[in-house]
Symmetry: C2
Subunit: 212 residues, 2 copies
Amino acid sequence: MESVSKETLQRLPGYLRYLKEMNESGIKSISSTAIADRFGFSAVQVRKDLASVSAEGGKPKTGFSIEALIEDINEFLGYNNVQGAILVGVGKLGSALLGYKGFRNYGLEIVASFDAKKDINAVDPMGRAIYDMSKMEDLVRRLCINIGIITVPAKSAQEVCDLMIKAGIKAIWNFSPVNLSVPNGIAVKNEDMAASLALLSQQLADIIKGTH
Amino acid sequence: MESVSKETLQRLPGYLRYLKEMNESGIKSISSTAIADRFGFSAVQVRKDLASVSAEGGKPKTGFSIEALIEDINEFLGYNNVQGAILVGVGKLGSALLGYKGFRNYGLEIVASFDAKKDINAVDPMGRAIYDMSKMEDLVRRLCINIGIITVPAKSAQEVCDLMIKAGIKAIWNFSPVNLSVPNGIAVKNEDMAASLALLSQQLADIIKGTH
DNA sequence: TAGATTGTTAATCGATTAACAATC
DNA sequence: TAGATTGTTAATCGATTAACAATC
């Protein structure tokens, strides 16, 4: 139950989704082999991943209890205690994120959104007010928000990032196509579409090459 | 100039953005150390990454020609030949992607979009028609499209995925929170928000722990 | 019991980093 | 020349996989 590699950490949400599916279809237990087959991983890898989060472990011959695993992963990933976040930049992408109800299941709640456009009557997809940027610092401090989501155009992303850090934000989830500069002690996760696409394109090239 | 690790591949788009910035501010050359500092990487890593794409390499004392590197990375990542893609699911997220002009710079052009809602007059953010799903297979085959982008709700994602594969799509960029099942020979890149968030949350937890 | 499955230890693989000679 | 910087070889580090004893 100690620290876990980045790779393991990124595989856990996938397992969780799959286990929930299995749970809904009424199955009680599952083997590492079955999970591995579903994802194209090796069974040993799945066992190692699960070993780092599972309290009771698996049983020879039957495998892992699905319900127990779901609870263990939920707990490990912190999905049981919801964290507040703010979002800056209520364009199409920002609205899409604001309207996405699934974040609650991932332990995240976007509690307020901000935009530079000063439309006093603007509301987000949930019908809540969209605030002016000038209100951000105060709100972040009052509610002790740690997480900021950036969905502004590239040219204002660094500025928004700096404002967030000044307001006390400690973790930034950046959907803007820029490489943000941040001081030590601030976490950044760039949702880098270009990097994803590069990976996909290379896979595609390999596949096409293989068919000739 | 041969094959390159996944990690290197994902760092290249970041370098490219930074080099373009530097280029616009009129600088002619840059050292691996300067790039490394900007990203928090080691200089050796940057040199190794660049060695795998740079035709002329760097020069002792001066570093790398920014213009030459930009061209090399553009070429390596295939940004000079645009690939066509289709998108299925024109909700908020789909619209955001359709309206994003930056994909052209990444060698991607979304040539058509589809949606299950049969609004005959619907148009995408560029003013182009949104087609009914029934038109997808024919269009994909006629235009020899290899890349499909999925931005539908979770419950229809697998179905859309299957239709894409049936139509001849070879690479799927999935923004829906599901683990798609695909046969061998099909590339999938899941844009897994939950996995990203897990990484960010862990970084945040480390930071908060560190401050106590 | 026999067989499926787990968990762990050791081997392998791949990526990063350290060390350093070459060069402008 | 001296110093900054490159590119490469060897060492280190971390993650995956192979092998296998333990167990229900």
